[in-house]
């Protein structure tokens, strides 16, 4: 293995669902001699693609967990993170992106830029990941890679530059013309493993010339040397590659490759492109946060000799214990090295260091700066930073959205109870958007996540991987309560029941807060409330906002201004002021016109135009607002805002209405006010539940 990290690439493969991402990964593994045979994702041979290592994924034909795998291509080592495509699992995508230096954006030559493509591209932008594009499925009916290139420019604002033009399309797709070398490439052999390089077919010569001009124009923007060389007609391939690389790494240019992974065409030139244009770990600047001087940024260098800094970005439960995928940002790792978990301050010794290939692994003794490997038998949570002893830094925290949906689960028997606990412990460590807790009132175990499918997958994994059978309740939306106007309060908590009394009086206002969940402002002057009790007041208000009166959900967006109050020399205490704050809040809350808020999802439905009417109908029936509809020929996209509570079972409805030809994605957008009729129903339901609880 090479330890020189100029010859190392950490790449992700990102795409819309069903763009052929997993098939592409599979082919890459094959051409890099990592596997001996190729399989289809939904294979007839019942084996399934090698990257989808979970049984469940094989069954559904989707990739859920990112698996890292290592390949070598032309003397360069490439770590590939296979990222999931479904929007419910975007935390997986985001976590993977964090550790990437570059990405291949896979697009379907028929579908082009789709809603999920836009989402993943935005995520790549957020983490400043340079990308190259691969327009897949050029063999499909309706394939139009040139249109897709235009969409990259129009919809995603990429400076997309065609590196190749197709030789034939649809069932006549035979190969590509490389615009840099000006040669035609065909892919022979059973698996397209033999490249045959020939002259450009005469009928494509003109187009190739025009497209090459465009490529050179775009490339010369990044290199004066190339510009000069072009004027003097002595531009070399190396100069062109260098200029394109510069543009790509600066994220100002996106080289576009073409092919059909399924038909074994165009994958090898794409791999060349990965090596040529995507950055090595040394080309990317990474910073960590210092834990000693608050929030100061520490620059990291991808140098083997520097003290080690690494991030655990993914955990997996293997048969031999916890496997932690890590990215080494600085320094290197050897077997037997001691490192510190900078969060828990625990020191750990590296026992086994392994390189991963989907389901199998290879023991290694050393891993250099920039590499992605896995550690065995180390206890940590995903997102933890490890560093060489004495170095107190943390990699910037990964953005984690709040869960929007919850589900009560009940193990079917005692055996399942133990196993369920084990499974939940593992899942919450693996996935920060997946949470679990026991409801103090119903004593039920509640799981929370980013969508219906997200939770469904975990319930199934519990059964399959942990043999923990559970019954599930109805999915519950994470509502919020909020006040809509400012109200003053003046509340005295007084108790005289023998022994020490309790006394505390608080005066102030509660008011709506546009951003944030809770804010406490202390405006008490002249010690009317002694300073030692202010904290108790804050604590009391905090306790009060945890649960609203309307439907028992947390209250969000409140600012409490505490302006005045009174105390008693003997009877005042922390406890008394906490009780006063809770009492004051409850009293004021009812007057502040409280409202119920619900999560509103940004929903994007795509399908043939003939079904546009049906799609409009489904959105309308779900209290949704149609923001826009875009018709491009026979293809339609409808963007809408729909309450999450109305989206349960939508995939089934959509499938049956459109003969399975439409698909949708959704992600959390904002919290919005619940209409009066719905709010009344929710309140009545809540009161009914309270009565039942009281009757028991």
């Amino acid at each position: 293995m090479s330890t020189n990290n100029a010859k190392m690439r950490n790449i992700g493969i990102s795409a819309h669902i069903d763009s052929g991402k997993t098939t592409l990964t599979e082919r890459i593994l094959f051409y890099c001699k990592k596997i001996h045979r190729t399989h289809e994702v939904k294979g007839k041979d019942g084996v399934g693609a090698t990257m989808d290592h979970m049984e469940l994924e094989r069954e559904r034909g989707i990739t859920i967990t990112s698996a890292a795998t290592y390949v070598e291509w032309e003397g360069c080592s490439i770590n590939i993170i296979d990222t999931p495509g479904h929007v419910d699992f975007t935390i997986e995508v985001e976590r993977s992106l964090r550790v990437l230096d570059g990405a291949v954006l896979v697009l379907c030559a028929v579908g082009g830029v789709q809603s999920q493509t836009i989402t993943v591209d935005r995520q790549l932008k957020r983490y400043n990941v340079p990308r190259i594009a691969f327009i897949n499925k050029c063999d499909r009916i309706g394939a139009n890679p040139l249109k897709v290139r235009d969409q990259l420019e129009d919809k995603l604002r990429h400076n997309a530059v065609l590196m190749q033009i197709p030789i034939g399309l649809e069932d006549k797709f035979r190969g590509v013309v490389d615009l840099v070398t000006q040669k035609a490439i065909y892919f022979d052999g059973r698996d397209g493993e033999n490249l045959r390089v020939e002259e450009i077919p005469a009928e494509l010569a003109d187009e190739a010339r025009v497209r090459r001009e465009a490529l050179l124009d775009a490339a010369s923007m990044f290199s004066d040397e190339l510009t000069e060389a072009l004027l003097e007609d002595r531009a070399t391939e190396a100069l062109i590659h260098a200029a394109l690389r510069k543009g790509t790494i600066a994220r100002k240019l996106t080289p576009v490759f073409l092919g059909s992974a399924y038909k074994n065409k165009g994958v090898q030139p794409l791999l060349d492109g990965v090596v040529r244009y995507l950055p090595s770990p040394a080309d990317v600047e990474n910073t960590a946060l210092s834990l000693e001087t608050e929030g100061a940024e520490v620059k990291l260098t991808a140098d083997d000799a520097a003290p080690a800094v690494l991030l655990a970005f993914k955990l997996e439960d293997g048969p031999y214990g916890q496997l932690s995928y890590i990215r080494i940002y600085q320094g290197s790792l050897k077997k037997g090295d001691e490192i510190t978990n900078t969060r828990s301050r625990q020191k750990v010794k590296i026992g086994r260091l392994v390189r991963m290939h989907a389901d199998s692994m290879e023991d290694i003794a050393f891993a250099g700066a920039g590499d992605i490997v896995a550690l065995f038998g180390i206890d940590c949570a995903s997102g933890d930073t490890f560093a060489a002893p004495g170095l107190a830094v943390a990699m910037t925290s990964i953005y984690v959205p709040e869960p929007v949906i919850s589900l009560a689960i009940r193990p079917v028997d005692n055996k399942a109870l133990d196993r369920m606990a084990k499974a939940l412990n593992r899942f919450t460590k693996e996935d920060p958007t997946f949470r679990t807790f026991v409801d103090p009132e119903s004593h039920e175990t509640i799981i929370q996540g980013m969508g219906e499918l997200h939770l469904e997958v975990y319930v199934e994994r519990m059964k399959r991987e942990y043999d923990a059978e559970v019954e599930t309740g109805k999915p519950q939306v994470a509502y919020r309560e909020a006040i809509s106007q400012a109200v003053e309060f003046d509340y005295t908590h007084k108790k005289q029941t023998g022994g020490a009394g309790q006394y505390g009086r608080v005066i102030g206002t509660i008011e709506p807060l546009a951003e944030g969940t809770y804010e406490f402002v202390n405006e008490v002057k002249g010690g009317r409330i002694p300073r030692e009790f202010i904290l108790a007041c804050d604590k009391g208000f905090r306790a009060a906002v945890r649960k609203g009166d309307l439907i028992g959900f947390p209250i969000t967006g409140v600012r409490v201004r505490l302006s005045d109050g009174a105390s008693h020399d003997v009877d005042s205490s922390d406890h008394a002021f906490q009780a006063a704050a809770i009492g004051a809040f409850r009293q004021a809350y009812r007057k502040a016109k409280p409202q119920i808020l619900e999560p509103i999802m940004k929903v994007s439905v795509e399908g043939p135009s003939e079904f546009a009417g049906n799609i409009f109908g489904t959105i309308n029936q779900r209290r949704g607002i149609i923001v826009s509809s875009v018709e491009d020929g026979s293809f339609s996209r409808v963007d809408a805002e729909v309450p999450l509570s109305e989206m349960f079972g939508y995939s089934m409805v959509l499938r049956s209405l459109t003969q399975g030809k439409a698909e949708f994605t959704m992600e959390f957008l904002k919290y919005g006010r619940v209409p009066a009729a719905v709010a009344e129903a929710l309140i009545a339901e809540h009161q009914g539940r309270n009565r039942d609880a009281g009757a028991k």
Binding site: D154, K155, F616, I626, S628, S629, E631, D632, G633, D639
Partner: protein, 235 residues
């Protein structure tokens, strides 16, 4: 200013009065001018005025990207809110968004029948009770007489008023853009289907609006209104 007053004092009341009570259901109105004078701004202002009144609007666009159109609405709304010191602007904004749908069609692929079918699907299946349809970016040089007649028939069937923008291309008109009556040459053959026709003229520091066809009535000519090129509002 509260919303009711804002509607009452809108310059569009003057506009409506000048064309005998507005466009009205079943009718076709056209705003015509060369590129870049302010047709889209006018259309969005007309639509926003409807939205303030709680009347749903479908905005059909042939050219722009959806996010550009949304930006147009946001800008016009912001200018009105600022200009008139609108109270409870955030709530009103949320309210009017519910009444607006943008439908985007790519011109090459979009035949008028298909466009009308989709708009109708939005009204019937989407239960979107639109009263006005704004059509921006429709290419009158490509369309046939039959096309506009289809729109008119459609407007009558669904009781909609339909506002078009027509881009006039100076290069293509050798004898000038307008005929003797002030009607854009390119629209002359379509005049039978057009109920209200207004042309926009850039003069000095503002844009003038001129009524050249007003239902069956004699056209009043220059309106006592103009378009402010800075805020792109009708004032």
């Amino acid at each position: 200013m509260v919303k009711a007053e804002l509607i009452k004092r809108s310059p569009l009341r003057v506009f409506e009065k000048s064309i005998h009570g507005g466009l009205g259901p079943g009718n076709i109105g056209v705003l015509a001018s060369p590129k870049g004078v302010g047709k889209t701004a006018c259309l969005v202002h007309i639509a926003t005025d409807k939205l303030f009144q709680g009347k749903p609007v479908i905005h059909v666009s042939y050219s722009s990207r959806v996010d550009y159109i949304i930006t147009w609405y946001e800008d016009i709304f912001k200018e009105i809110a600022k200009n008139r010191r609108l109270r409870a602007a955030v709530d009103i904004h949320d309210e009017i968004i519910k009444n607006r749908v943008i439908m985007n069609f790519k011109q090459e692929g979009a035949r008028t029948e298909q466009v009308l079918k989709s708009v109708e699907a939005m009204v019937t299946f989407g239960k979107f009770a639109a009263q006005s349809v704004i059509v921006d970016g429709y290419d009158f040089t490509q369309g046939t007489c039959g096309d506009l007649a289809k729109f008119k028939e459609f407007a009558a069937k669904l009781s909609l008023e339909v506002w078009f923008s027509a881009s006039l291309k100076e290069a293509e008109a050798e004898a000038g853009l307008y005929d003797a009556a002030g009607i854009p040459v390119v629209l002359t053959p379509l005049c039978a289907s057009i109920d209200v026709l207004i042309t926009l003229h850039a003069t000095g520091d503002h844009v003038e609006l001129k009524v050249v066809k007003d239902h069956g009535h004699p056209a009043v000519g220059l309106l006592p209104l103009k378009l402010d090129p800075k805020t792109l509002l009708i004032i």
